[in-house]
Symmetry: C2
Subunit: 307 residues, 2 copies
C-alpha cells in the first residue's frame, strides 16, 4: 500500500493522544507534566542484525517498543510517548505491515504509552526500525550508570540468559520452548521496578548485551569494582556446569535491570518484580567472579560488543 495509506489507514488510528494531532502535522505537541525532567532515548532494530527477519511482525513491533522502554526503565523514568522511524523493504509487504501495526497497538496498550508520530520510508534493501521513547522522572531521581559506591550491593531483576536460549531456538539450534523464545522475541521492560528504583538505587542500567559486559560498563561509569557471585545469578533453567553458566551471563537481550543499592536495603520490598542480590561493590575497577566459593577467571568475551 502507498505510504500515505499506511500512515492514514493503519498508523493514525493508533495515534489517539492529543499530542499526535492525528498524525497530520509535521510534529507532535505534548504538554509535559510540570516540574518533571524528561528522559529520552532512541534505539534502532535492524533486520539481519538485531532480529532474524522471519519473526512474527507483531513480535518485531513488541521488541522495538520494549527495548526502548527498557532504556527508560533503566533511567527510572515513566514512559509517555514514542516516535517511530519505520524504514521498510519489499519484504515488509501489506500483510506484514498490517500484522506489525496490530502488534504495535497491543504493545502500546500493554506498556501504557502513546504513539506520537514519526516517519515511514519504503524502498530499503532490509528493514531498519527506529524508535524514540520519551518519559519523565522527578528531578534528581533519574537513575544512571554512575553512582555505585564501595559497600553497595549489586542486584538484578528476573532471570538471566533466557533470551540467549531463546535466540538459539529462533536460529533452530535448540528445541522449541515457547517461554524461552518469548524471552528473546517479546522482552518485558521492567518499568515498575525502574520507577521504584528512582532516588533509591545508587546506580542502574538495563542488561541488553549480557550481564557481565553490562556490569563492567556500570563499574567503569561508577569508577568501582564489582564482585559477582555466579551461584547467586537467578536462572530460569539450571545450568549444567560453569561453562553453561558463563554462557548465560554473557548472552544478550535480557532487558533485566542491574542496579546497586546501599548495603542492607532489601530490593525485594520495592515492588512485585522478582529481584536477586548477586554481588557487591568494591573499591577498584573491573569485575571479579566467584563460583562455588572459588574465584573464576573472566571469560574472554563478556557479552555483545557492537561493531
Amino acid at each position: 500500500m502507498p505510504e500515505r495509506d499506511f500512515i492514514a489507514r493503519l498508523l493514525a488510528p493508533l495515534a489517539t493522544s492529543a499530542a499526535a494531532r492525528g498524525l497530520i502535522d509535521d510534529a507532535a505537541v505534548w504538554a509535559p507534566p510540570l516540574g518533571r525532567n524528561l528522559v529520552l532515548t532512541h534505539d534502532v532494530l535492524a533486520a539481519g542484525v538485531h532480529y532474524i527477519g522471519d519473526e512474527p511482525p507483531s513480535d518485531v513491533a513488541w521488541k522495538l517498543l520494549a527495548v526502548n522502554l527498557s532504556d527508560l526503565a533503566a533511567m527510572a523514568a515513566t514512559p509517555a510517548g514514542v516516535l517511530l522511524g519505520l524504514g521498510l523493504s519489499a519484504a515488509e509487504d501489506d500483510s506484514w505491515r498490517e500484522a506489525f501495526v496490530a502488534g504495535l497497538g497491543r504493545a502500546l496498550e500493554s506498556f501504557g504509552v502513546s504513539l506520537w508520530g514519526g516517519d515511514t520510508v519504503t524502498g530499503l534493501d532490509r528493514a531498519v526500525l527506529g524508535c524514540t521513547a520519551v518519559g519523565w522522572a522527578e528531578p534528581g531521581k533519574a537513575m544512571g550508570r554512575k553512582g555505585a559506591v564501595p559497600g553497595d550491593e549489586l542486584w538484578v531483576s528476573g532471570t538471566i540468559g533466557d533470551a540467549g536460549l531463546g535466540l538459539a531456538i529462533a536460529r533452530g539450534e535448540a528445541p522449541f520452548d515457547k517461554a524461552l523464545l518469548n524471552r528473546f522475541r517479546r522482552p518485558t521492560p521492567r518499568l515498575a521496578l525502574g520507577a521504584a528504583l528512582g532516588g533509591v538505587a545508587s546506580a542502574g542500567m538495563d542488561v541488553s548485551d549480557g550481564l557481565l559486559i553490562d556490569a563492567a560498563r556500570l563499574a567503569a561509569a561508577s569508577g568501582v569494582a564489582l564482585a559477582i557471585d555466579l551461584d547467586a545469578v537467578p536462572l530460569s533453567r539450571p545450568a549444567a556446569n560453569l561453562d553453561e553458566l558463563l554462557a548465560r551471563v554473557t548472552a544478550g537481550d535480557d532487558y533485566e535491570l542491574l542496579f546497586s543499592l546501599p548495603a542492607g536495603t532489601d530490593a525485594r520490598g520495592l515492588c512485585t518484580t522478582p529481584v536477586t542480590r548477586i554481588g557487591r561493590v568494591l573499591p577498584g575497577a573491573g569485575l571479579t567472579l566467584r563460583f562455588a566459593g572459588q574465584p573464576v577467571p573472566l571469560p574472554a568475551r563478556l557479552g555483545w560488543e557492537h561493531g
Copy 2:
C-alpha cells in the same frame, strides 16, 4: 572503527550538554523550560532514497538535522536537542564517519541545538539515518496545517524550486551551480520565521515535497480551498515558460515555510526572512492556479508522493 570508539571518540565530544550525560547512560535527561509545550518530530534519510550517496558526509549530516529542524520551524517551535539513529554500511568507512561527525558538529552549532543521544548500528546494506528533534513552543502557539480560514492570505518564505534545480545538478543533469546545489544539499530550516509565526499564522507547514502538493495538504487539513497566483511565486532564477514554472512548484526539498495569515497582516514585518504573498484562502476544497491572469489546470503530479 568499532562502534564504541565511534561513540566515545567522535560523537561524545559533541554531546556537551548536561542532558546528554556524556553519552554514557541509556537515555538523556533534560529539564524542559517550565510551562512550555514540547514539539517532537522524527525524520529518516535513507541513502539511495533521500540522498544519492556520493554527497560530502558533512552535507548529509547538515541535511539530516535541517530537515528535522524544518519540521520544528513548521510548528513554530524553538529547537532544543536531537537524538540520532545512525544505521551505517561498509560504505560509511572511518573517513566518512569522521567527516560526518565534523559536519554534524558544525550543524549543531549553526542551529543552536544540542546532541542528546541516540544509537549507532553497523552492518547495514545501505545507510539509514534517523533524527528525532525536540523543541518547545508557548502553549497554544504551536502552528499546524489546520486553521486556515477563508479570507486568509497565503504566504511562502524564500524562493521555490531551487532544491529541485540542485537535485538535477547533483544527478549530473544540469551545469554546476554551487548556490543551487547547496539549496538541495544544505537546506536552511526557517527557525526564526517559524518562531515568529507562532500565534500569528492561522496555519503553516514546511514545503518538503513540492509547493503544490504541500499546499494541497494544508488545504485538506484546514478544510479550505487555496488559490495560488503562480506569477507571485518567488523564484531565484526566472522560469522561461509555464512548464518550467510548474516544474519549480512541484519540486521537493525546498524546506521553506508555507503559511496563512489573516488578510492585511504583512508577514514581511515579522522577521528578516524574505516572505511573499502567493495566494488566498477560499471556501471549498483543493487548489486553483492562475498564471498571467488565466486559470491554469492542475498538473497531474503535484510533487513527491512517497511510496
